[in-house]
Symmetry: C2
């Protein structure tokens, strides 16, 4: 992936996406002793950055491919993004979701007109179901991260960050983004490190799902145990993507790990300082900063908040203490 | 107040404020059968639009006036805005707040370094206290709405809306903003109706505090009973401002009134569709749209969401049902 892929992706998707602002809070800055700029992707269409990659990928399908439709599997943000892009472009969408997925996400995908096929996590394989459907209908599978055009779409977050920093007349010391499959941080790192080679990019992962951080140390892809609980439902992929890891192993400075208490605290501060709803995975980079996983004293740091699709009860529990 | 006052205000405050985005939700649009664009001023510094007017006014003080300091009374958003602007410009701030003001707002003002003088609502007069302090210290009183420069600062919300609509290639059919003293909607109406004379501007008020709506009907300023309860703590001014009413009586199309249940419902939808924290008064324009107070079918409507400074427990109560 090159900066040109991201630049052309931006040109392609610009009129469909929200250009999310870069925000800061004088109270937070004072508290951490540095300058923290947040990139609130919960304000993106469908409530997460996933809309960018889905948009970039689906806009490039041929007329015939669009006619067949798009097939995807996801329990959350990727499902909503694919459904919304397909609704917008009048392309049929088939989403494979676990029976146990949050009601609001299943209903959300259906609300956009997607056909949702529920499956049993214990007895069925979602990729197999997806491939079968794709063959039957002549549809195209759009994977959640391990795809160059999806990654280039997510990279527009990084390109916007650098453009917005330029408008402010600053070069950030570092940029933090959460990692599940690693597509978001791979796209961001490509944009940021091409345009500002001295800026460090970090991935942030929840405890027990630090596969990318450990893979960077091991210099090869390792897998999580998987039977650990985490608040960060959107960051539970067991292994880094093959393509994303090729990018991330070269470009990332390091991996940072946060626990549930730190994530909950960051969700509450996001409410207090920014009036934003962050889902647990979306608050992880802010959690890493506030927990002191990285030294921000006197530095300028950008934290990408990836999404805000969280159940009201879960959110309420984190902000009321 | 003329468009030039607002334009020059924008030039003055631009580097200090957040240019809040104009956002929309395909799900909300589908639900109401029209296009609803929101202007989320909870993302403004200090969590409300008040920062704009405070900034514009205080930046124009002379060196000598800045030395003396700024005096203001408020139980909420104006207090936070004045305190933050003064901290930024190193001007002493004296805020008179009721003993019963929300703890987070008192602590918020103090956190910015303001001197907070608490008073007893039953036995003391805040304006008298303010005037006495201002005389003692040689300070300047910055009123919350009945001031041309404060109004011009709030008007930058309207100017940004029109610029952002132009970028989208649209002219909105109407713009809705909440009214307490009426400074926000007066500034917005001046900008919007000067640049797009066919666009209607409406004020939105909570039931029991519809003084501006009734004053427009009566063609003179009327007062609320005042002993009514409302969720909208930020919209409880008893009478329209003298200066703001001169503007609003000429420029507003009409007044819309919403009740607590409609406001709570809009806060929950704001969480769901936009991942934004709206305080009750901040959600009032969205409440008016969703309650059908105005026909948006096939129309393009802008709703200004004025702020997001709400107690976590109050917010949680509205989103979890």
């Amino acid at each position: 992936m090159k900066i040109s892929d991201i630049f052309l992706s931006q040109t392609r998707i610009n009129k469909y996406i929200n250009r999310t602002p870069l925000l800061e809070s004088p109270v937070l800055n004072k508290k951490v002793g540095g300058r923290v700029l947040i990139k609130p992707e919960m304000l993106q269409v469908t409530g997460s950055f996933k809309f960018r990659g889905a948009c970039n990928r689906i806009l490039q399908l041929t007329e015939q491919q669009r006619h067949g439709g798009v097939v995807a599997w996801s329990s959350g943000n990727h499902a909503l993004a694919i459904s919304a892009v397909c609704a917008m472009l009048k392309v049929p969408a088939y989403i494979i979701m676990p029976e146990t997925a949050p009601r609001m996400k299943i209903e959300g995908a259906r609300g956009y007109g997607a056909k949702v096929r529920l499956y049993d996590r214990a007895t069925e394989n979602r990729e197999q179901i997806g491939k079968t459907i794709a063959e039957e209908i002549g549809g195209v599978i759009v994977p959640p991260y391990d795809d160059w055009q999806v990654m280039a779409g997510q990279g527009t977050v990084g390109l916007e960050i650098m453009e917005q920093c330029r408008e402010l007349g600053i070069v950030p010391d570092s940029v933090l983004a959460s990692a599940s499959g690693g597509g978001l941080v791979a796209g961001i790192a490509t944009a940021v490190r091409t345009l500002a080679p001295d800026t460090d990019v970090y991935c942030v992962e929840p405890a027990g799902f630090d596969d990318l951080s450990r893979s960077m140390v091991e210099k090869s892809r390792v897998t999580n145990q998987g039977n650990v609980a985490t608040l960060c439902d959107s960051l539970m992929v067991p292994t880094p993507g093959a393509l994303t890891f090729e990018v991330n192993r070269r470009l990332l400075k390091d991996g940072l790990v946060v626990d549930d208490a730190e994530v909950g605290y960051a969700m509450a501060r996001c409410f207090e300082y920014f009036k934003l709803v962050a889902e647990p995975g979306g608050a992880a980079p802010l959690a890493a900063i506030m927990a002191g996983r990285i030294d921000v004293c006197g530095k300028t740091v950008v934290a990408v908040l990836s999404g805000g699709n969280v159940d009201p009860a879960v959110f309420a529990q984190q902000i009321v203490r």
